[in-house]
């Protein structure tokens, strides 16, 4: 016992010593003074005066070695070309670029470790929620000076507001996926039920029409399901949340009160409708254990007829068919079903890929970073990035082109009904990763027999609002 006490005492003393040796706990570093009225120059403007200061900008984008764009070009090759051109036009600037992977659960271990070690990249390009966690710990710069007034005017206001905390623009969105529904038209044609699908020009349908189509196509005995959901991880929860767009009274989060309100009667109605899909057996079984990646094979092997996240399934279908891995089939984009009597569902755009900039101590470097970000968010550049990811640029003046009418036509229709953020209309609350975990658990409970919808949503709201309350 004496030895044990000695051991614990030694451990305690050493821990205290180690803690005192670690960097002093301080207030979060103050925001670096913003340079006045930073008008970002064009990439081709090469400074000609005075000797230039050598600046190295570390730029990390999500992905891993071998990650390829939709057309097969390696992201590393694309970025190398872009940055070579940029460096040539900006003497003194060197961009140290790397792709840093993250895992399917949404972890950004490499970046987290670098941040904790005090060596984060200068620029980080990743999805909004992953960048947001660094903002929660006051580690990011305000990017307002990186955009001109003309730039800001070209952004969808919903998206730009979602990148702000108060007046601080902690990120700049580049591209995002419009979460249209995608329908395997071939399956419906084979079943002689194509007339049940939404038609041009709006490609919209009501929840009742959706259920009728579901009933017609669902054939579990032959391994064909109407649709699929997944809740096994936090990833792509927007695919579920997008369904709420058909129930306009339902708000996942109330920006005015900064409270989660997804347990309101309108939301309960929406989720009760979704649970009917489960009860009728219209969806792939086991949603509580499936993740987005495990849903892909069902779509590619034509075992599921209708899915959200249309852009994603469009890109993987084209890729797999191009590689000869699957037999090509026809599909179309349609709107999410709306409750009868409600307007056509707006297209969802959520969790875009954004740029974030970690705190800088050198004002010259910060200015150089602003200029780089401004260069990267120009229309041609975001068009290329969006095309590479099979997504759509956030800037409204950036071209979105698709030579596939099944995609282009309904997307054009979707854009005319506006954009819908399946989460927030005004910024993202802090500690959102904790909330997403709570939401994944709530959805896992929801995709069970005899789920008590109201109780599950109440439980989530209580937990999520508790997390928001604990914010600094």
């Amino acid at each position: 016992m004496k030895k044990l006490t000695f051991l614990f005492a030694t451990l305690a003393i050493l821990s205290i010593l180690l803690a005192s040796c670690a960097p002093q706990a301080t207030e979060a570093p103050a925001v670096v003074e913003e340079p006045a009225e930073a008008e970002a120059p064009a990439a081709t403007e090469a400074p000609t005066e005075a000797p230039v200061k050598e600046i190295t900008i570390t730029y990390w984008a999500f992905g891993s070695e071998g990650s390829a764009m939709a057309d097969g070009t390696l992201w590393t090759d694309w970025y190398a070309k872009i940055f070579d051109e940029y460096e040539a036009a900006h003497p003194g600037i060197t961009i140290d670029f790397a792709l840093k992977g993250y895992d399917a659960s949404g972890s950004t271990l490499v970046v987290d470790t670098a941040v904790a070690a005090g060596t984060p990249p200068d620029v980080y390009f990743d999805t909004k929620f992953r960048v947001k966690k660094y903002q929660d710990t006051q580690l990011l710069e305000d990017l307002t000076p990186a955009l001109t007034a003309d730039d800001i005017a070209t952004y969808d206001p919903v998206s730009i507001e979602g990148s702000k905390s108060g007046d601080m623009m902690w990120s700049i969105p580049a591209d995002g996926g419009y979460w249209n529904m995608i329908v395997n038209k071939s399956l419906f044609e084979k079943a002689g039920k194509a007339d049940l699908l939404p038609q041009a020009p709006d490609y919209s349908w009501t929840t009742e029409e959706f259920m009728a189509a579901c009933d017609a196509i669902n054939d579990p005995a032959n391994g064909v399901y109407c649709t699929a959901f997944f809740a096994g991880s936090t990833s792509m929860d927007s695919a579920t949340n997008q369904w709420l767009a058909g129930f306009p009274e339902c708000k996942f989060f109330d920006a005015a009160s900064t409270q989660y309100t997804v347990n309101s009667p309108a939301c309960v109605e929406a989720f009760t409708f979704m649970h009917t899909i489960y009860e009728n057996g219209y969806m792939v079984p086991g949603a509580a254990g499936l993740i987005d990646d495990t849903t892909d094979p069902y779509w590619l092997s034509q075992q599921v007829a209708v899915l959200g996240q249309g852009n994603w399934y469009d890109s993987i279908t084209k890729k797999s068919a191009g590689e000869g891995a699957i037999e090509a089939f026809d599909y179309i984009f349609v709107q999410f079903p709306n409750k009868p009597g409600e307007p056509v569902t707006p297209a969802g755009m959520s969790n875009p890929d954004v740029w974030g900039v970690f705190k800088q101590s050198d004002p010259d470097k910060l200015q150089a970073v602003y200029e780089l970000i401004n260069y990267m968010q120009q229309p041609e550049m975001v068009s290329a990035i969006a095309a590479g990811w099979g997504k759509i640029p956030v800037r409204t003046d950036a071209a979105f082109e698709s030579d596939d009418p099944a995609v282009a036509e309904p997307l054009a229709a979707a854009r005319k009904f506006g954009a819908y953020d399946p989460y927030f209309v005004n910024g993202v609350p802090c500690n959102y990763n904790d909330v997403r975990q709570a939401w994944a658990e709530a959805r896992q409970a929801f995709w069970q027999d005899d789920a008590d919808v109201q109780a599950i949503l109440d439980g989530f709201v209580e937990r999520a609002n508790g997390i928001v309350t604990s914010c600094p």
Binding site: L11, P23, A116, A287, I291, E441
Partner: protein, 297 residues
Amino acid sequence: MTNIKTLAKEIRRGWTGYLFIAPGYLAFIAFMLLPILFAISLSFYKVSFNLEARQFAGFGQYAILFKDPIFKQALLNTINYTLVIVPATIFISLVVALLIDPLGPRSQSFFRGAFYLPGVAGGVVLSVVYLWIFNPTYGLMNYLLGLFGIKPILWLATAPYSFWAVCLVVLTFTIGQPIILFLAGLAGISQDMLDAATVDGASDLQRTFYIRLPMLRPVLLFVLATQTIQVFQLWEVIFMVTGGGPFNSSTSLVYLIYQTAFIGGNYGKASAIGVVLMVIIMIFTLAQLKFWKQTDV
């Protein structure tokens, strides 16, 4: 003070020896001891990615922890994993070893390799295989159940099946090493003793229960200790197969540490969970040591 003087004297006397073991100890200090101490110190702070902005919280993180239902669930699950997987591993591997032991050298080599191979493949590879086996619509498991007229089970989507699914995956790769150890232990038992028992009229079952098993006790205790520690640190299978779900029914303490630190960014709370886990394992290990001493193994 006297102890320190004695230690210094010892070091002076055998400095070459200490020089040889120094690299190992330095590595231990740098990569084990210091991180452990740092984690202990972090558990007393409210801290996220920005370590410099940490705030001292005393035992605050521990207070939060013991009120947290997810932590309690993870703790309970971890204990349940240990209670299921460790005895099952020992039982299966012991039975397999006893069955392999009488075989010829070639057959023994084949079975040793066959049972050890899943362990070489590792938890991640096996988890991917099991994701297919447990798939609700085209998985092998439900196909086999269907042959007996049993309704498909949503292995990864419903509690408590997700818990049992994790146990099954883990058992696939944990039995290999104990089989090798038990076979080595069995090979070390004197054939003369077994022959004498045969002459005395002991059956094979009696020789197993009264000679082989008692003689295997040191190996048994070693396997028990290492397996328990291994199961307490269960992580990759949960990460790959269930993600801790549904609604935390299959999460473990180590998986909760990962989620809390690297998804939630709450390093302070994650460190507190780590410290609790360390204390649990330490208590268990000390109990093991005491038991070993008492049983004179």
